[in-house]
């Protein structure tokens, strides 16, 4: 019985443990900066468009989106969401936003970080940095915070070309030029606010480090195409944090290089993340952060998650042409992150799926047997395409999908037990469609 229970359990990467100190540093440095009188920004995830600029200006960003996951794991999120609702914010808004709105209300009431705030809370911002990128909450939420924090706000621009446009090369430079012009505006905003000039040498150094981080983290994920897959999604979600928030940091590069070495060794020796990989799955989009143990239960059944969470992946090696101007380069990476799935697929000849393209590509490249989607009750951005995506994968590639609803912070909305009850039937579907794919000439 014991041996059977252990079968299929995830073999976590040892090097993934190196990530923890980086994550801890990220959570603590905001409070440290505030204590030392250095500027702190509340920042949205901005896919590298603003982070290194802030860092080069000596600003320490803290990320309320991330803090939402901390509060979810701690359980205090329910309190903060209640406070947000009492302030008049609708309860369907982004769970991370509700958490931050509630937290801020409490902080203003207390006149300090609320005593029950996990991980020391978030220090008062000097300014706030929104991003237009990918979802409306990421500028509306900070605009709403304006009534609590009377501090300046800047919003980073982020073009959203249509999927049908991404094969039109002329569109790309227009979009990048626009972003670069807006980045120039952001630098001017910071210089005015902080009364100092940006150090372009430092910025260049950070960007160079960031580009190396992208490369190695992308290579790690590319290695996951191996059968068996050497890295389970659980390790991905742990390891994606430094790339998303600390790509400027040489320590991040060193950690990823260590991770790469371990993953490469696994691939070279045919070692997978599960002792028996029965099924290879994709996952979209945001996981139930407070219930990640759910994936361990699925791993016991031989479900290996081989690619997941499009928004947390690094951009692939750059294919867009462009000049070496640093603002253009910063813009180009963020833009490339956004368009690369469709762009690359069209070059490879399997552009077909529009918004479902990232998962369509991964289904082919990672030889997926199934897809698990997690519609998130308080996140329309991460949820909109999920049904369409599993429809496309089923119609075009004979890959079945399973939907399990939950939330990013509200742990009461995720029912792991009933979700697990669906696993046996879904395995039958994955087995069946394996046969169907073979009859249709697909090679997995």
């Amino acid at each position: 019985m014991i041996a059977e229970k252990k079968k299929g359990v995830i073999t976590r990467l040892e090097s993934a443990g190196l990530v923890r100190p980086l994550v801890n540093k990220m959570y603590s440095e905001g409070n440290l900066a505030a204590e030392e009188g250095r500027p702190v920004a509340w920042a949205m995830v901005n896919w590298w468009e603003g982070d290194i600029i802030m860092r080069a200006m000596g600003v320490t960003p803290v990320y309320p989106e991330n803090y939402g996951t901390v509060c979810a794991s701690d359980g205090i999120v329910q309190k903060y969401m209640g406070v947000s609702a009492a302030e008049g914010f609708p309860t369907h808004l982004c769970g991370y936003a509700q958490n931050a709105l509630g937290y801020t209300t409490e902080m203003k009431k207390e006149g300090q970080v609320p005593p029950d705030a996990p991980m020391g809370g978030m220090a008062k911002p000097t300014f706030m940095l929104c991003s237009e990128g990918m979802c409306d909450a990421r500028y509306k939420w900070f605009q709403s915070l304006r009534q609590y924090w009377d501090v300046p706000i800047w919003t980073l621009s982020f073009p959203h070309p249509d999927f049908y446009d991404l094969q039109d090369e002329s569109i790309h430079q227009i979009n990048i030029d626009y972003m670069a012009a807006e980045i120039e505006g952001f630098i001017a905003f910071l210089e005015g606010l902080l009364k100092k000039k940006i150090d372009y040498d430092k910025l260049e150094e950070m960007l160079a480090n960031q580009e190396k981080v992208f490369q190695v983290w992308w290579e790690i994920n590319d290695l996951r195409r191996a059968i068996p897959c050497p890295v389970h999604g659980r390790d991905f979600w742990t390891m994606m944090v430094p790339c998303l928030y600390q790509a400027y940091d040489p320590q991040t590069l060193a950690v990823y290089q260590a991770v790469y070495k371990e993953v490469k060794e696994r691939v070279d020796n045919g070692v997978g993340a599960l002792s028996e990989e029965r099924y290879r799955l994709l996952f979209a989009e945001i996981p139930p952060w407070a219930s990640l143990g759910f994936f361990d239960k699925l791993a016991e059944r031989g479900w290996n998650f081989v690619a997941e969470s499009m928004g947390y992946h690094p951009p692939p090696p750059m294919e867009l042409p462009g000049n070496g101007d640093i603002k253009q380069r910063i813009a180009r990476w963020t833009y490339w992150f956004y368009i690369s799935h469709v762009y690359r697929a069209s070059k490879k000849g399997y552009y077909i799926a529009g918004a479902a393209q990232p998962y369509y590509n991964w289904a082919i490249e990672y030889k997926a047997d199934g897809m698990l989607i997690h519609p998130v009750v308080t996140c329309r951005t991460a949820t909109f395409w999920l049904t369409h995506t599993i429809n496309v994968l089923k119609e075009k590639l004979e890959i079945p999908g399973l939907s399990i609803q939950g939330d990013i912070v509200d742990i009461t909305l995720f029912d792991a037990a009933s979700a697990l009850n669906q696993a046996p039937a879904f395995e039958e579907a994955m087995d069946h469609f394996r046969q169907v794919r073979k009859t249709k000439g697909l090679d997995w």
Partner: protein
């Protein structure tokens, strides 16, 4: 049966409102081309200048969503889901093209999915920035230029700036007529009810510009000369919020001893309230009007002085409506799952609290059946104002 083209004035507006696709089908049968679009952001001047009749695609609260639910989860904007449903179910089968837009995140995604399903002969997507910095205005202008070029290529016509200027004047003329129409509601009691106004405005979204303007002139004359029809009531309300595609919510409010005398919705003043400035390069005027002048919560405006300055920048124009239309209460209406409007609620409420104007937030499910409980709240609100 009489064609809608031969009807006049209010009769026509009501008929077009009730049978929204009929006139468009008549026109298409005559060889005209119809361009569907989303939101109030695509510059319609370019669409009409190149020979299309613009039709704003809207959902309906009247019909349950069926096939769209197999493509879009239920936590997404119900109006967009309904719009997709009407398309998939063949109810909107008269389009020759579609202009999508990045106005909110869900509308952007909807635009792509709509074209993915409908495969219309012409499709163009307008990427509208959320900010109004100088580079954003340049970017908006570039997006409009690309839209124009795409449509020129599709139609084989070249659009001269002078021709576009003429078209802008024609649209501005209609906007001026809508403002005149809204002006009929300034007196107490208003000459036109909120329900009638919404019927007229929604019908305009389904008619060629000249035909709509002719209808507006007839209506204005008709209303001015008809016996006073609207009763004086205790509350003169302004309705702020998400698009209204039917009159049911306004009917519900006006049945509660209130007149809806003004609105700030995008099937109302946001769509028709502002002219396009006639600039040397007409695209400059269009970019400014559609990105900066048009006030929708989807656009972010930095105000660095204070929260009060921020509120003034966001809601000051509504305060002017309140003064000019002698409004004594505001209904903040939003369909569920509209994040763009949802985030605004505490700030706009606080703003009007400060001005001493009471407000009521009503969140609805975008279905007729769910309106009854809201009526009780509206009645209590009106009683409080009284």
């Amino acid at each position: 049966m009489m064609t809608q083209g031969k009807l006049q004035g209010l009769t026509k507006a009501v008929d077009v409102y009730k049978n929204r696709y009929k006139r468009l089908r008549e026109l298409r049968a005559e060889g005209k081309k119809i361009m569907g679009y989303v939101c109030a952001y695509p510059p319609l001047e370019i669409v009409t200048a190149l020979g299309y009749i613009p039709f704003r695609i809207l959902g309906t609260m009247d019909e349950p969503i069926t096939k769209a639910d197999t493509q879009v989860p239920a936590i997404i904007c119900p109006m967009l889901r309904s719009m997709l449903d009407l398309g998939i179910n063949g109810k909107i089968d008269f389009l020759d093209g579609f202009i999508g837009a990045h106005t909110c995140d869900c509308t952007q995604k909807f635009s792509h999915l709509y074209q993915y399903n409908m495969q219309l002969p012409f499709y163009r997507f307008l990427d509208v920035p959320h900010v109004v910095h100088k580079p954003s205005l340049d970017f908006m202008k570039e997006g409009i230029r690309i839209l124009q070029q795409s449509l020129e290529k599709h139609t084989g016509q070249k659009l001269a700036p002078e021709r576009l200027q003429e078209e802008i004047k024609k649209h501005n003329e209609q906007r001026a007529l809508v403002r005149q129409l809204y002006g009929l509601r300034k007196q107490d009691p208003p000459l036109l009810s909120g329900v009638e106004t919404l019927q007229i405005v929604l019908s305009l979204l389904c008619l060629p510009i000249e035909e709509g303007s002719t209808m507006l002139r007839e209506i204005i004359a008709e209303v001015k000369s008809r016996p006073q029809k609207i009763q004086k009531k205790h509350a003169r309300l302004l309705l702020w919020g998400t698009p209204l595609t039917e009159t049911s919510i306004v009917e519900m409010i006006e049945s509660a001893d209130a007149n809806v005398v003004m609105d700030d919705i995008c099937t109302g003043t946001r769509h028709f309230g502002l002219d396009v400035e006639l600039t040397a390069d007409p695209l400059d005027g269009l970019a400014k009007r559609y990105l900066d002048d048009l006030k929708c919560p989807r656009t972010y405006r930095e105000a660095t002085d204070s929260f009060a300055a921020d509120q003034e920048a966001r809601f000051g124009y509504i305060a002017k409506y309140v003064r000019d239309w002698k409004v004594n209460g505001i209904i903040l209406e939003s369909m569920k799952y509209c994040d763009t409007h949802g985030y605004e609620v505490p700030a706009i409420k606080a703003y009007f609290d400060r001005l001493g104007i009471p407000s009521l937030y009503l969140e609805h499910e975008y279905t007729m059946v769910a309106l009854a409980p809201l009526k009780t709240r509206v009645e209590a609100f009106v009683e409080m104002i009284s």
